[in-house]
Symmetry: C2
Subunit: 210 residues, 2 copies
DNA sequence: GGGACCTCTCTTGTATACATACGCCGCCGG
DNA sequence: CCGGCGGCGTATGTATACAAGAGAGGTCCC
């Protein structure tokens, strides 16, 4: 999502701000203004403006009163909402994916679980998290529903936010990996109903284990 | 969605372009460039740029090769994808709405069906369509899931696109109204499963009846 | 004659200057 | 003492000028 794939100042500012928000470096609720950001990043207001607009359309910034842009604050209620949306969207994608999965798709997903297992074994929680997100993206991609994937991409930032306090122990990572492996098995067997169910349980439980 | 609620040139250009795309006036697949649009609307490139970025992030414009922005082309496959997403998202919202609906919510929805019936009776297909969209928005709003509503808003443009060739006869409009009334009944009775099912059938069938 | 390179142009990216609108603060009047 | 009103400051909205990159077409060399 965001600013296509082009390497531009607007894209860099966007990435920087996004990373700042997701890491919690930019505290929720604080206001951003164009000039200080432009100054801070050593660019003019124009690319900053663009980055701010993009982040706003993704919901990471929310227009406040007093004509300000505030860093979004995810409440507990918001968290469960994100989970519900993921369940709905990824569930729909999974059902379609069952009908369309090729052996190559299955292999690609298997490869990801293997990498995940390695990350879990080496206790590399950062790369594990990245692989986890990639797995879900890849699974949705199998459905070949570009608009749905686009929505999930947008949601990705929120998912990351909801996972900030999640445990990252080896045990936990291995558990998640096992669940992913199971999901791939179900996909390969084309058990649409079972896959959907397992996926929904997987996503929901992720939100619980904190 | 789009450009907040402010009255600005960027917002006007955005609305104009959006309307053009949704009405089919801007043919799918054609490329837009900033200068001609700026010239056509009598503004500078800056607001045009902003409008284009917003439309792109909503998916109404897609980046093509040769660094162009093309008006989105909704294929048949894309149509069914939109329906599937609506089913997933609105279904999830409906389930939650059942748990949260207040008498006021129900009344507001009833009022909309009444207005719809009038539009159907007077054969005013344009206001009927608007009310239909508003009904679905309102139903989702009952769930009080702002992010989900935001996604549905974004999807709204595509929904409109998929409905371009839909029949608008009095019979058809009355049928849809009846279905809406039934949905409200189920919501009031808090029959979550039934509501979800009926809603999914309603949305799916809408796409069929063309 | 064909292919590669070079240049030219057209478009988008960026900077900056100007306009405007909105909120805030202080003053005045009730 | 409170409430409204007006000026001021600061933010965003807009215009425009400049830069840079990518594609197209022509030309030159092999």
């Amino acid at each position: 999502m965001g600013t296509d794939g082009r390497d531009t100042k607007a894209a860099r500012v966007y990435e920087a701000l996004r990373a700042g928000i997701l890491s919690g470096e930019l505290v929720a609720g604080s206001a951003l203004d164009e000039v200080s950001l432009a100054d801070a990043h050593g660019v003019s207001r124009t690319p900053v403006r663009e980055a701010l607009r993009t982040l706003t359309s993704e919901g990471l910034l929310v227009p406040g009163s007093r004509r300000q842009l505030l860093v979004v604050d995810v409440s507990e209620r918001h968290r469960s909402e994100i989970v519900a949306i993921r369940v709905a969207l990824e569930g729909a994608a999974a059902a379609e994916a069952c009908a369309r999965a090729t052996p190559d798709d299955v292999d690609a997903l298997r490869l990801l679980t293997i990498k995940q297992r390695r990350s879990a074994d080496t206790d590399d929680s950062e790369s594990f998290l990245r692989l986890d997100e990639e797995f879900h993206r890849a699974l949705a991609a199998v459905a070949a529903m570009p608009t749905l994937s686009r929505l999930l991409m947008q949601l990705g930032a929120f998912v990351r936010l909801t996972r900030l306090g999640e445990p990252t122990g080896r045990r936990h990572m291995r558990g998640l990996t096992r669940e992913h492996e199971h999901l791939v098995d179900l996909l390969e067997a084309r058990e649409a109903a079972g896959l959907r169910e397992a996926l929904e349980a997987h996503i929901s439980s992720t939100a619980q284990r904190r």
